[in-house]
Symmetry: C2
Subunit: 334 residues, 2 copies
């Protein structure tokens, strides 16, 4: 008999606060920043960037944490596992995610590196360029995976970024094993094309061995995974893997890809693109919320695009409006 389902989605990921500033493209060039990508940086580089970037604001972030916040904002039940330090920014991270209604019980580190921060430059075209100091995230390990929470979650959602800290991939594998043992589904997001570059073989193996049931990727990540410049070739390769593929295409909408078929929806209309930070994370939140509620794939895709559309129209990767209300206005929350 299956355990009671308490959560629609449990996210496991790096617990990060975003230090966000608007910037011109010149700044990226001057500081040799890799536009649109997530680059790992050390503390000294973090401090130098902080002092030279534009006026900074601090907003909670982290890929899977953003996704969990999106699920909660839609009225879903969500939990998050990730490691902060017991410090000012760690307290902000915990306050923010809990205020969204997400259960967050991972013990903060009481010593060691500070809470992780990602220095995010948002250029006038709305693109974000991330430079992440992993800090306390490096302490996330298998002991932090709360077995009971995993067994009670319809879906667990894991970020590719977990391959960066030393022990987090063990937490990932443990969570996936527990989930499958409990008859649950495991979703992975590829996170970033350069992250895929770093761990391509491992990610391919996760798909081949069916550790991953659902794969989220954008076009760049998908092409990087299958080392091709051609999107259609990448989609065909994804189809062959057997998992449920969910591909985001920015202004071109999103699609699901399975052995059986392809379902596509257009992007949700927006008034003004401000900051793409969190677009993929919120898309995944909307999609998984729909899936957990048994909605048809097309509706899951539409919930994903709706959630992404909200978050790209303001600075920061957490919803500012109730996604549940927005979904209801679109007749999607039913």
């Amino acid at each position: 008999m299956m355990t009671e389902t308490r959560y629609d989605v449990l996210g496991l990921g790096n617990a990060i606060v975003d230090v966000i500033a608007r910037t011109e493209d010149d700044f990226l060039a001057k500081h040799k920043l890799n536009k649109g990508a997530m680059t790992l940086i050390e503390e000294a580089r973090a401090e130098a960037l902080f002092q030279s970037m534009g006026p900074a604001e601090i907003i909670s972030g982290g890929c899977a944490a953003n996704t969990a916040s999106g699920v909660a904002s839609l009225g879903g039940r969500a939990a998050f596992i990730g490691k902060v330090r017991q410090d000012t920014l760690g307290e902000l991270f915990a306050q923010n995610i809990r205020a969204f209604g997400v259960d967050f019980e991972t013990l903060p580190a009481t010593s060691g590196p500070a809470t992780a921060r990602s220095f995010i430059m948002v250029t006038p075209d709305g693109e974000r360029t991330m430079n992440t100091y992993l800090g306390a995230c490096q302490g996330l390990g298998p002991d932090d995976v709360a077995e009971r929470a995993v067994t009670m979650s319809a879906f667990i959602y894991l970020e590719g970024y977990l391959w960066d800290p030393p022990l987090a991939k063990e937490a990932f594998r443990k969570a996936a094993e527990i989930a499958h043992g409990a008859g649950r589904k495991v979703a992975l997001t590829l996170s970033d094309a350069f992250c895929v570059d770093r761990y391509r073989d491992e990610f391919m193996e996760l798909l081949r061995s069916r550790v991953v049931d659902i794969l989220f990727a954008n076009e760049h990540e998908l092409k990087s995974l299958f080392t091709t410049e051609d999107f259609e070739t990448a989609v065909a390769a994804l189809r062959d893997m057997g998992a449920l593929g969910v591909v985001t295409r920015g202004a071109n909408g999103a699609m699901t890809v399975t052995r059986e078929d392809t379902v596509a929806v257009p992007a949700f209309p927006i008034e003004r693109l401000v900051d793409t930070t969190g677009a993929g994370d919120l898309f995944a939140g909307g999609f998984l919320f729909g899936l957990a509620r048994g909605f048809p794939e097309k509706e899951c895709l539409r919930l994903g695009t709706l959630a992404a559309a909200e978050v790209i129209q303001h600075i920061g990767a957490r919803p500012q409006r109730s996604l549940k209300e927005l979904a209801e206005q679109e007749g999607l929350a039913g």
Copy 2:
């Protein structure tokens, strides 16, 4: 001979970071918060509010600091004097204001209370309700007033809130005296109707004794100052004081009031009211920038309403777009 003018505006005020969350009106009622006002709170109350409020973001704030940022965003030269603690939020405050191009050289406190924070609830109507823990601001005193910076500033801008910490009013009086000795002008903002209630006699005395040359007030503050419910009565009383009165009226625009005449402009058109935090501060920044550049009063008023219009269309009290570019688009920059 007058000293060289290095700054258009030097702001002296409480150095505060804003901890902002969207909230429903119910929350204000439940926690007995005084809607639209600034209420002083102690540390325990601050912690309780933080844990119960909605998902929080951290954005630098502080009345005079916001004004200085606005002046800099318009292309003006600005400086700020205010006290933070040497801690994470103090570093954020310093980074943010300096990244705007504002000179900020006040030494941070190395012991004592943490950097000040204002817990700000933004309701769906765009109104903000502030609850401020003054922390390190309580250490601001006359020794922090950099004499040379004051003498080199066309205008010094002081906030009524400086009457709250124990020694800051002495810093205020010292700065005003130095400014007048150097042939400069002194501006005061009344800050908040309840702040006026606390220090009405002192503020009236500042006006009567001509310590203050320019007075910024909104309708509530003006009526509170002259203890009348009638706006026209308050305006007439202001006119009698002899200072340059600058009155903001929200959606009804703004006006200057002198013994000689009244000049009024409508509010600057906006697409959507999101968060009124900083509206008055940015208005003052635009107005003083114009005055420092010798623009006619009507143009100063228009610069004020333009700056206020930018800041109320997003969360947080610091400009997100270049006010200089916005002003140029309106043919206002010069």
